[in-house]
């Protein structure tokens, strides 16, 4: 009987609670209501390029601007948002999600016609996909603006003739290394003896391989290797793509006309170089398929890698208690037979067509451009404007900027193909091919021939 009574009470509580909730004012419906808001996205007259204060529209009432970002984008734009809030009285709300979720959630939101996001900070590779559903930003791209941005960034901001995104920051992989290893006279002597030339920070493939082999060693005599020359990442594809550009390929996977070039000689050479480091020279921690950005970063911070190729922002992320703090050197990305090459990884602010506060969004994006340098003090510390980088390039603690600028300016630093199927190509072809090549059991030519067939099937 006691149990029965207990259950009766529980059930009644259930029902009452549910009814109360069901009848309660639904906050959800209000914001989910579709916004066929009065479309104020018509561009204001061209003379308004230098926006200082708010325009007529949202001046009187304050609104909340919702920005979809991932961690990096959040930290870089927080200072900008704070200043924006102070100057205009509006509220900026960041919705931070993991990397892939930026794409997935934006897609789902636009598909559902929802207005949860006024601005979205997206990776350049998604621009083609979202271009049709993004508000045009042509009026923001004056000559003055274009001149202060790296050329690749301006190129990638457009799709099919319209400017759809404003760059917020640019990034590229550069070379990180442990200074103590390269500057140590004993190491230098030993290296010279073994290889016949002076030990220096690698600038090309051969020097990179030699240094990696040289530094892979068992430092405490227990039979296990404690220091690796570098890491070979099998969890991500961009680093191999950078290698492809270093090999001299005019593009990665596809050329400018959309032809599949993934099996050209440059790709083959690049794949061989990339995988030889692991398969032939064993300079990397062996669990290559688990090495993604996270894992590699961790290894370097623990002092287990002599060198690492990584995104430039990482320089400012070195934890204070890491063994490589104060000991990390940076240099431009290495050159292959085709020169220095890297994959630029810019991010752009776009305005989804389903946004609620389009005018305010545009204001914010313009404001963000003008205050682009504010992002440099953030932990991620990156910017999009050349002038911003120049102003910090020789400051202490920003030693990575010159290498980054050099890398970004290199002729073989080319953006990824702007096709809507890039997500799929990455997921289904590029990453698997890298991982397959890293099993060391299939020749590069074969892997790439397969990849070509797969990409052609996708188109």
């Amino acid at each position: 009987m006691l149990i029965k009574q207990k259950i009766q009470v529980l059930l009644s509580v259930f029902l009452i609670a549910a009814l109360l909730v069901a009848c309660a004012p639904r906050a959800a419906t209000e914001s989910a209501a579709p916004t066929t808001a009065p479309d104020t996205s018509g561009a204001p007259p061209a003379t308004e390029s230098a926006v200082e204060g708010p325009t007529e529209a949202p001046a009187a009432e304050t609104a909340t601007l919702n920005i979809l970002v991932e961690g990096g984008g959040h930290s870089l734009q927080q200072a900008i948002a704070d200043k924006f809030e102070a100057e205009t009285g509006n509220t900026v709300n960041f919705i931070e999600v993991p990397y892939q979720d930026v794409h997935d959630k934006l897609l789902a939101e636009i598909a559902a016609g929802g207005s949860s996001y006024d601005v979205a900070t997206i990776d350049v590779i998604w621009i083609p996909e979202f271009a049709a559903a993004a508000e045009p930003l042509d009026d923001l791209f004056t000559d003055e603006v274009k001149n202060d941005l790296f050329p690749a960034l301006v190129n990638d901001a457009q799709f099919e003739g319209r400017f759809v995104g404003m760059p917020t920051w640019a990034n590229a992989e550069i070379l990180f290394y442990q200074k103590s290893l390269f500057e140590d006279p004993d190491e230098q002597a030993a290296f010279k003896e073994e290889y016949g030339y002076d030990l220096k920070v690698p600038t090309n493939w051969q020097e990179f391989t030699d240094a990696a082999v040289f530094f892979t060693r068992d430092t405490d005599g227990d039979g296990n290797i404690d220091l690796y020359g570098t890491d070979v990442k099998g969890g991500v594809e961009t680093e191999w793509l950078a290698t492809v550009l270093q090999a001299g390929s005019p593009g990665v996977a596809l050329d400018a006309d959309g032809n599949v070039i993934i099996d050209n000689q440059a790709h083959v050479d690049a794949l061989k170089f990339y995988t030889d480091l692991h398969c032939t020279y064993n300079v990397s921690p062996p669990n290559v398929n688990e090495l993604d950005w996270n894992a590699s970063q961790q290894l370097f911070f623990e002092g287990k890698l002599a060198m690492m190729r990584f995104w430039a922002h990482n320089y400012r992320f070195i934890p204070d208690d890491s063994v490589v703090k104060g000991n990390t050197g940076v240099a431009p990305m290495i050159a292959g037979p085709g020169g220095v090459g890297a994959i630029p990884g810019p991010w752009y602010n776009i305005i989804p067509s389903t946004a609620q506060n389009k005018e305010l969004a545009k204001q914010f994006i313009q404001f963000a451009y003008e205050n682009n340098a504010l992002g440099l003090d953030a932990p991620l510390g990156l910017a999009a404007r050349i002038s911003a980088y120049d102003s910090y390039a020789n400051k202490e603690g920003f030693e990575h900027f010159n290498p980054l600028i050099d890398t970004l300016n290199a002729p073989q630093t080319i953006g990824r193909p702007l096709v809507t199927t890039w997500n799929e190509i990455t997921n289904d072809v590029l990453i698997p091919l890298v991982q397959q090549a890293l099993t060391c059991q299939v020749p590069a030519e074969e892997v790439l021939a397969d990849a070509k067939a797969q990409i052609e099937a996708l188109k």
Binding site: F130, N289, E290
Partner: protein
């Protein structure tokens, strides 16, 4: 009496029946309808009728075989492990008898854990560098170094790794069902067998298992369906990698829809999945379940 009964039944079931119609039948029909189009998620209004082309793509793609094979392997690993482990546990509890009630209750509790949480905590235990499982295995001397088994990045074993949360979650359920079944076997039969001189193994195979067949059949079908539909735990553990070797059908369908935006293709694959699963269920139902019911 018959007439008014029927009205009563109809009236009482109308709300539920309506729900089924509107939120099962209609969506499934819509799914099939959408699968006949080439339509992108971002532009749902620009649809192009392509008939059965999406299905042709699916049926001729090498990836489809890989998908089905992986889903099947996953289901087999999960079901098999649950059964073996569940049986061992059930037999143990059964042998203990009444006193095992407390233990059994505690044993039940992973049933309450969300699959997403289970996936997360197993990922935490299996991940390289700081996953505790490899450290335990190294400590026990079963492997030499913690990097020896790459649970989440070795394509050959990743299916097993993503099966672990599922096995962990539902073994207790299988144990419970089998235990109840075991308890329902009349003691006299076991006595008779013992008197006849059968040892434990013989008793098990010739008496216990046949008597439990209806229960076993039910569990296979129910758990088999659930295993085939898994999404949450695999999603959070590997997202389908490495090299797509831990992708099962639900995952692929989700990716096709949200990551690649191909709504028509996703609908087609989902339809194929549905049809295949239903057919398999019907086959299983008629071969291993019904015969027992009619025998009773």
């Amino acid at each position: 009496m018959e007439r008014s009964s029927r009205t009563f039944v109809i009236l009482l079931t109308i709300p539920a029946a309506l729900f089924f119609l509107v939120f099962f039948t209609y969506p499934v029909l819509l799914l099939v309808y959408n699968s006949l189009f080439d339509v992108s998620l971002l532009a749902l209004q620009n649809r192009k009728f392509v008939g059965l082309e999406n299905y042709a793509d699916i049926l001729t793609s090498a990836q489809t075989i890989k998908l089905f094979s992986q889903t099947l392997q996953f289901t087999a690993i999960t079901l098999g492990s649950e059964f073996i482990l569940g049986f061992i546990a059930a037999l143990t509890f059964n042998a203990i008898g009444r006193k095992s009630e407390v233990l059994r209750t505690m044993f039940l509790f992973p049933l309450m854990v969300a699959p997403i949480v289970a996936g997360l905590l197993w990922r935490f235990m299996l991940i390289d560098n700081f996953g505790i499982l490899n450290h335990i295995l190294t400590g026990l001397g079963l492997i030499q170094r913690t990097a020896d088994i790459a649970w989440l990045s070795n394509p050959k074993i990743v299916l097993l790794s993503v099966a672990l949360p599922d096995i962990w979650l539902t073994t207790c359920f299988v144990t419970l069902i089998l235990y109840t079944g075991l308890q329902n076997i009349p003691g006299e039969i076991m006595e008779a067998a013992r008197i006849d001189g059968a040892n434990a193994l013989q008793t098990f195979w010739s008496i216990t298992v046949p008597l439990l067949r209806p229960v076993i059949a039910a569990v296979i079908i129910l758990r088999g369906i659930d295993a085939a539909r898994t999404f949450d735990s695999i999603w959070i553990m590997t997202g389908g990698g490495p090299m797509g070797r831990s992708e099962v059908l639900s995952l692929r369908i989700y990716l096709t829809m949200i990551r690649f935006g191909r709504f028509g293709d996703a609908s087609a694959l989902a339809t194929v999945f549905l049809v295949v699963l239903l057919i398999l269920c019907l086959i299983a139902f008629y071969t291993i379940w019904k015969p027992d019911i009619s025998k009773r």
